[in-house]
């Protein structure tokens, strides 16, 4: 059988870096093919080449046996390639049908298009209402709009980049059903993900990239998650170890916190109460956009609330700003690295100062560069940050190394309470492991750690208790031993706002 898509010897070089080195890959009709690899392994570059965004320096792309040049995304779409990106490109103020019409460049009457949308949506079991405005849709629904937009073009190859990172487990299951139906009809699927369990459940073939090169091809159904991870990393996988922790007194308490959204399409926090105890890790699960940003801003001090709504070791801090809360022992690892947790144009030494300006680094307001440099060097050494030195610009570090630096900076401050937002998002497996271990060690040393993450597996691995944020409300936390993925998934979908017993 002729392959739907065959890549032979694809090479792409960016300056000194080989993003893709002699990559050969073949996808059969009706096959769900996984593309695996750590961050920076070259997956995105390869997909951009297939979708016509990037031109390869060498190599041949064959489409159904014929060599083709894919000059731009229009050419890719004309061939029958559809792509669902990780970050959606939808206009929030337009309806679903209007967004799709824009994406298709279609001139057909809106009513006709809406009818077609309904028909295709029904065919694949995608629950989407054509007349709804996008801003009123959940993230999962928005993804369905993106997928629908591709499906309306009757693709022969659908590329999905980390599609389940924004879905509840139930929504992900729905997506898999849809993808299997699509594959059964003969459409090929290229599936990029780092969630190994779902690749084992869904995909029938896999190509593993490491440092731009194909290092393995396998049938993921015959592999374990562990063996897949080892192929990606090129070495044996280590596990986090959980040191025994003594759970102590409450160190962070939130009582009946209600905070109106401060931006359009933001989430209002409703009546949130939680208690974080010293020595424990509390996980906050939930689909993005359900109030995570707002909750973290209220806890970190970027947004103020009533003084008594947030207590740090019994002291009211709700009305204090971030620097004052930090001085009292609260540290925060934000979601965005460059631009928020660190400044791209600053050196690592300057970035170390961002949250560590104190009597040691800046006595009497004058910077002690010796102390600052020593701090930065300590962070780099202690947390294994790969960089050209402490004078390297923030932008020159890879995402994982920048995150290790930020996590290290916050942990090194020896906080009483650490807030961590998506601490391992987009970080490669090795760095993720190191970050999780650092969080576990901090808790074991007696700090309270609150982790907000969309990665349920991560929360189940490191958290002692898990609460779910949905629609701006927080469920009562449950000990991890008493929860199930299904139960948490139902809460994430907003099934029950009633506090669990």
């Amino acid at each position: 059988m002729t392959a739907r898509l065959a890549l032979v010897g694809i090479t792409k070089r960016y300056g000194a870096m080989l993003a893709n080195n002699d990559v050969t890959l073949s996808v059969a009709p009706g096959e769900i093919h996984a593309l695996l690899g750590e961050n920076g392994a070259g997956k995105s570059t390869l997909m951009k080449i297939v979708y016509g965004v990037v031109k390869p320096d060498a190599g041949v792309i064959a489409w159904e046996g014929e060599p083709v040049v894919i000059a731009d995304p229009n050419a890719a779409r004309a061939l029958g390639v559809g792509m669902v990106f990780q970050h959606f490109s939808l206009f929030e103020t337009l309806t679903v049908a209007e967004n799709i019409a824009l994406g298709l460049g279609s001139t057909q009457p809106m009513a006709e298009l809406a009818a077609e949308i309904r028909q295709v949506a029904a065919q694949y079991g995608l629950a989407v209402e054509a007349e709804r405005h996008v801003h009123s849709l959940s993230v999962g629904e928005r993804q369905r709009v993106e997928i629908l937009r591709c499906l309306l073009q009757r693709p022969k190859l659908l590329i999905l980049d980390e599609p389940t990172s924004v879905l509840t487990p139930q929504e992900a299951d729905g997506l898999f059903v849809m993808l299997r139906r699509l594959a059964a009809e003969g459409c090929s699927v290229l599936y990029i993900s780092h969630k190994l369990e779902e690749i084992r459940a869904l995909c029938t073939a896999a190509t593993v990239l490491r440092a731009g090169q194909v290092v393995a091809r396998c049938d993921p159904r015959l592999e374990t998650a562990e063996s897949l991870a080892e192929m990606m990393m090129g070495g044996a996988l280590t596990h986090t170890s959980r040191p025994p922790a003594q759970v102590g007194a409450p160190c962070l308490a939130v009582t009946a916190l209600t905070l109106a959204a401060d931006e359009p399409f933001g989430t209002t926090l409703r009546d949130i109460s939680l208690e974080l105890r010293a020595g424990e890790i509390l996980g906050v699960a939930g689909v993005a956009g359900n109030g995570q940003k707002e909750l973290l801003a209220a806890l970190s001090g970027e947004r103020r609330a009533a003084a008594g709504a947030v207590l740090l070791q019994g002291q009211p801090i709700g009305a204090l700003g971030p620097a004052e809360r930090r001085a009292r022992g609260l540290a925060f690892i934000p979601e965005e690295r460059l631009g928020r947790g660190a400044v791209a144009e600053f050196t690592l030494a300057e970035n170390a100062m961002l949250t560590r300006l104190d009597a040691r680094t800046a006595p009497h307001g004058l910077l002690d560069l010796g102390a600052v440099n020593a701090l930065a060097a300590r962070l780099v050494a202690r947390f294994g940050v790969r960089c050209s030195g402490i004078l390297a610009q923030g932008r020159s570090l890879s995402g994982g190394n920048m995150q290790k630096f930020i996590v290290g900076r916050e942990i090194d401050a020896q906080p009483k309470v650490l807030l961590a937002a998506h601490p391992t998002w987009g970080v490669d497996i090795g760095a993720a492991l190191a970050i999780r271990q650092a969080l576990l060690d901090l808790a074991a040393a007696g700090a309270g750690v609150l982790v907000v993450s969309e990665d349920l597996d991560e929360l189940l691995e490191i958290a002692d208790r898990i609460a779910v944020l949905s629609g701006g409300r927080l469920s009562a936390p449950m000990p991890v031993g008493e929860t199930s993925v299904e139960g948490i998934g139902l809460l994430m979908g907003g099934a029950a706002h009633a506090p669990a017993a």
Binding site: Y14, G15, A71, D72, S300, G301, E302, G321, P322, A323, E324, R325, R326, F332, P334, E336, G339, R340, G341, A342, V343, A344, E345, F346, E350, M353, L354, T355, L357, A362, G365, L366, L367, L369, R395, S396
Partner: protein
């Protein structure tokens, strides 16, 4: 063959430093073209503009004199821009500094107090700071952008000065010319060189260079300012106040511009006139960017701009060229700087063959 701009992977350090020099050379060449079009020998005109003022000791002291207000204003503007606060109304703050400092001179000058001159300097700085505090208040309370408010307040300040020198402060023995009495000797800045006009204000401006450098690169306040300017979200995360940065940098740059104003009044001018500055406050914006917002770079840029002012006067005298010739070259300097700055983040690529679709 086609030319194409391509993004560099990293900003070019070389272009970062080379760009101001290229801009200066291109502005000189552009100036030559303008002179040729006006019917003058471009070589003679350029020599008059750039070389003649440097040939005499008198010219060099005049260079320092003209650089003083440019340097003071530009350093304040640069500190602001580093915090992403755009004070483009240094001209107005300079004018107000001249009014407040000059008011002290008119009130107490000639009475022989030791504190007259220090009080004038303080009042000048305070006047400029006050004038810049108005945009700070408007920005932090009502989110009115300082680019508009500082500029508009400049014209208000000039009107206030005009009213004073035409009305209440007019010299009763001045044949109704719109100007104040000449300041008494004890209300004048001491000159540095017998017979020259260069005065102690130049030393104040030179002192501002290391102070501003230290502020930006060696203090917590400067680090916070740079963070607010470079990455507002990071500043919010760190807990650095954006409003604090607006207040600090506007008040600081206003005070420096005010100081420049009183130094003009108590220096080369010696009284208050309807116009205290030939646009030093606006030219200082060019100086700040030409100097790469770095205090040491600004020192060099202020000398270059001072040279343009001096050379421009020479052109008026020797070649009868209009004063607009100076303005034209100033404008070209900024224009070419913006143009050459494009190459910091991008590079020019030659491609052969037809364009791809």
């Amino acid at each position: 063959m086609r030319l194409r701009l391509e993004a560099r992977q990293q900003p070019s350090q070389t272009m970062q430093w080379l760009s101001p020099f290229l801009a200066a050379v291109l502005a000189a060449l552009g100036g030559g073209v303008v002179f040729a079009l006006l019917g003058h020998n471009p070589a003679t005109a350029l020599a008059t503009l750039f070389l003649a003022p440097l040939a005499t000791l008198d010219g060099l002291t005049e260079l320092g004199l003209k650089a003083t207000p440019l340097l003071l204003c530009a350093i304040g503007i640069a500190v602001g821009v580093r915090a992403n606060v755009w004070n483009i109304g240094a001209e107005g703050q300079l004018t107000l500094g001249a009014i407040t400092g000059g008011g002290i001179a008119l009130a107490f000058g000639g009475e022989g107090h030791w504190w007259t001159l220090p009080l004038m300097l303080f009042a000048g700085a305070a006047g400029g700071a006050f004038w810049a505090a108005i945009p700070a208040l408007l920005r932090t309370k009502f989110n009115a952008h300082e680019i508009l408010t500082t500029l508009m307040l400049s014209y208000v300040a000039i009107q206030v000065l005009g009213w004073l020198v035409h009305g209440p402060w007019i010299d009763p023995e001045g044949f109704n010319f719109p100007q104040t009495r000449m300041f008494a000797d004890d209300a004048m800045l001491p000159v540095l060189l017998e017979g020259a006009r260069l005065n102690a204000g130049f030393l104040l401006a030179l002192l501002a260079v290391p102070l501003a450098w230290g502020l930006l690169s060696r203090t917590a306040v400067g680090f916070r300012l740079r963070t607010v300017g470079q990455a507002p979200a990071a500043a919010r995360y760190a807990g650095f106040s954006a409003n604090g940065a607006v207040w600090f940098s506007l008040v600081l740059s206003g005070a420096l511009a005010g100081l420049a104003g009183v130094c003009e009044a108590a220096g080369p001018v010696g009284q208050l006139q309807p116009l205290m500055s030939p646009g030093y406050g606006f030219a200082a914006i060019i100086v700040a960017f030409l100097g790469r917002l770095h205090p040491v770079g600004i020192l060099s840029a202020s000398l270059l701009m001072a040279l343009l002012y001096l050379g421009g006067e020479q052109l008026q005298v020797t070649l009868q060229l209009p004063i607009a010739a100076t303005g034209t070259i100033q404008g070209m300097l900024l224009f070419f700087l913006l143009a050459t700055d494009v190459f910091i983040d991008q590079r020019l690529v030659f491609t052969r063959g037809p364009a791809h679709a």
